[in-house]
């Protein structure tokens, strides 16, 4: 039994609380400290290691113009076009305008962008962009390099930035529709923790762990969406989950990012084949010599339709083939990665591999103003946790750009806000959340299995293709699962209690799954990443966003006109 002193709540105080230490959270912390604010940067995993940023192996899209002449307007236009009419152009404007500065900042911090012999930063051409626009760190090392660089910068600001890993935030604390801070628990001993802050930033990343096949880490359960919704903030575009078309399916590999085949395709032009050996993307509108241009939603659609028609690969996807590419060319492009494939028994000159769509990114998220403020005062959000800037579909490479740019913006905005605030804390406002993390409940053996069941349910009924019957079935089961898990976590506060962690995750995942399924049910059209079998066409009248709020236990969904960008004359 842990002694009572070990589990006595710990109370911390700071100017700015940043929840989540991925690209967005680390940038936010650095920007806020740059304004002289004291920052507490927390993560449920280790700092800079738990989320998508460190896993991203590919590219970052910015109109740097170092490969070919480029313009902010061209990047903006591509982003808006990919979003199928639903992007908040004010947010897309910020990302595309400030992207180059973020890339130059990281360059100055020695991230190591791949360069030409003459010193120009290399930019690759990724699908959906009108030209080569995507910077990267070789070989397949972009995310790890970005994370490492930002972690090193954090250490240089130790006087202002306190880092706390293994700290899981479970609820925000609010009074009078303003954020006062947050409550959570330390994973290493289970101790309840409360944090008072003048301003709070949610930078918890996405939700793709909701799905059976995903590119997610353990920490991508959509925590920020649930935190925000319960605190009174609103979510937008929750129906738009991006499936990455060519996620690795078979043979089983270890030590490789499941989305690693993308750069192989756009650097070398791998061919996507059905069981008859046919390059089927042509049947869905890709022209034979245009290169790798099909956007993610179109490619996902094509692969799943082939599987449905009985022309899938044995494991239920498509074949990806590089056999037409000479070995020297493969080696020149991917160096040591070829060795890592060989260790997995894969020789691309001899064999095709199987790929299938996997849940990869969330376009939707917390609704924010162009100042990155949520509907709750003193509560900001950044990175994949926010919705709006990508509309119905995201362009390859834009996610890291937005994590960096929005992170920087929120850090500065929160610091400006904190400068005008005193810490206000209310034990009463935090009481219910603290009681939950301190509670003792009956042990239970079903929690990890319930997570697996929810992932299957979401994949089968709320995946890339949806219909009314399936969505209603999913919502009904989500409701009964919520009753099944009840209001009390199993066990008692203690060191690294994974059944208890799973319970808090499931509490989050069920609420977030409900928002995705509900928004998917009410959008009676197909657009971008949201495809309804019963409403297969895009409907002009649906060129609106859906905004979700929580009232007691009830979700409310309203439609809202897509914001317009008023450019200064």
């Amino acid at each position: 039994m842990p002694s009572p002193t070990e589990t006595a709540p710990l109370h911390l105080q700071t100017d700015i609380l940043v929840i989540g230490a991925g690209g967005a959270g680390m940038m936010a912390a650095l920007a806020a400290a740059g304004q002289g604010a004291r920052v507490l940067l927390v993560d449920r995993a280790l700092i800079g290691r738990g989320g998508a940023t460190v896993m991203a192996q590919m590219t970052v899209a910015v109109a740097l113009g170092s490969e070919l002449p480029d313009s902010i307007a061209a990047h903006f236009n591509d982003t808006i076009a990919a979003g199928r009419g639903l992007c908040d152009p004010r947010l897309a404007d910020i990302v595309t305008r400030d992207g180059p500065a973020a890339i130059e900042q990281l360059d100055a911090w020695h991230v190591g962008w791949a360069r030409h012999p003459d010193g120009r930063i290399r930019q690759a051409h990724a699908p959906g962009h009108d030209k080569a626009r995507c910077v990267y760190v070789d070989f397949l090392n972009t995310g790890p390099a970005v994370s490492k660089t930002l972690r090193a910068q954090l250490q240089r600001h130790e006087n202002l930035i306190t880092r706390a890993g293994d700290l899981m935030i479970t609820d925000l604390v609010t009074a009078d529709n303003a954020a006062l801070g947050a409550v959570g628990f330390a994973l290493s001993d289970g101790r309840p923790v409360s944090i008072a802050a003048k301003a709070t930033i949610i930078a918890t990343g996405g939700l793709t762990r909701l799905y059976r096949r995903n590119s997610a880490s353990l920490n991508m359960s959509g925590d920020g969406y649930a935190l925000a919704l319960r605190a009174g903030a609103k979510l937008i575009d929750m129906e738009f989950v991006q499936f990455f078309p060519i996620g690795h399916l078979a043979p089983r590999m270890i030590g490789m990012d499941p989305i690693m085949w993308d750069p192989f395709r756009y650097k070398l032009g791998g061919r996507l084949l059905n069981s008859e050996g046919r390059a089927f993307l042509a049947d869905y509108g890709e022209s034979a010599d245009a290169g790798y241009v099909t956007t993610r939603d179109q490619a996902t659609f094509a692969i799943l339709k082939e599987v449905e028609a009985g022309r899938g690969s044995p494991a239920g996807g498509a074949w990806l083939s590089f056999r037409h590419i000479p070995e020297e060319e493969l080696r020149a492009a991917f160096g040591p990665v070829i060795e890592r494939l060989a260790a997995n028994g894969i020789d691309l000159t001899q064999q095709d591999i199987e790929v299938a769509p996997i849940a990869h990114y969330h376009m939707g998220g917390i609704q924010v103003t162009p100042g990155l403020l949520t509907a709750v005062d003193d509560l900001f959000a950044a990175g994949e946790a926010i919705g709006g800037s990508n509309g119905a579909n995201r362009l390859s490479g834009n996610a890291i750009t937005e994590a960096l740019v929005f992170g920087e913006h929120t850090g500065r905005a929160a610091a400006a806000r904190a400068a005008t605030r005193q810490v206000r804390w209310s034990d009463a406002a935090a009481a219910a959340a603290l009681a939950r993390v301190a509670a003792t409940g009956p042990a239970r053996a079903d929690i990890a299995a319930l997570v697996v069941e929810l992932q299957a349910l979401m994949a089968d009924k709320v995946g890339p293709f949806r219909n009314e019957a399936g969505l209603r079935e999913a919502l009904a089961r989500i409701g009964t699962m919520r009753e099944q898990i009840g209001d009390t976590p199993p066990g008692q506060p203690g060191p690294y209690d994974m059944a208890r962690i799973d319970w808090f995750d499931l509490r989050t995942m069920l609420l977030v799954a409900q928002t995705v399924a509900s928004a998917a049910l009410s959008r009676t059209e197909s657009r971008g990443a949201h495809q309804r079998e019963d409403f297969p066409a895009m409907d002009q009248d649906w060129t609106v966003n859906q905004v979700i709020s929580l009232h007691g236990d009830e979700l409310e969904i309203v439609t809202a006109p897509v914001p317009v960008l008023e450019r200064a004359a």
Binding site: I254, G255, I447
Partner: protein, 111 residues
């Protein structure tokens, strides 16, 4: 034909306890990692079994370090084999629970 199994002998304890070894059998599929095996045990047999990991498959987070048959490895990189494998926490780090040890840098811990 019986399906091949991997047998994981997992050392479990809380700080200060004498470790006990528990035996778990999981169906073996070629290409799986030791982490795959432990996650399967959590989902089907014992959700309380503690192991630290984030990225699962990407060799990115570096959180899943432990010992297999006495050697320090990343659980997500070490292949599962259809035989008995001994899985233990790192020996040189403070134990938190089961396979989880205190690997966070000291300046990234609270309180």
């Amino acid at each position: 034909m019986t399906r091949p199994v991997a047998i994981l002998l997992i050392e479990r304890a809380l700080p200060g306890q004498t470790p006990r070894t528990e035996r778990f059998e999981v169906p073996f599929d070629p290409g799986q990692s030791v982490l795959d095996g432990v996650r399967l045990i959590r989902a089907t047999a014992d959700p309380g079994l503690a192991i630290r990991y984030s990225c699962i498959n990407a060799n990115a987070c570096k959180e899943c370090m432990l010992r297999v048959d006495g050697k320090v490895v990343y659980a997500c990189m070490r292949r599962l084999e259809p035989r008995e494998m001994r899985v233990q926490p790192l020996a040189n780090k403070a134990l938190i629970r089961d396979l989880v040890t205190e690997i966070a840098p000291p300046d990234e811990r609270i309180g």
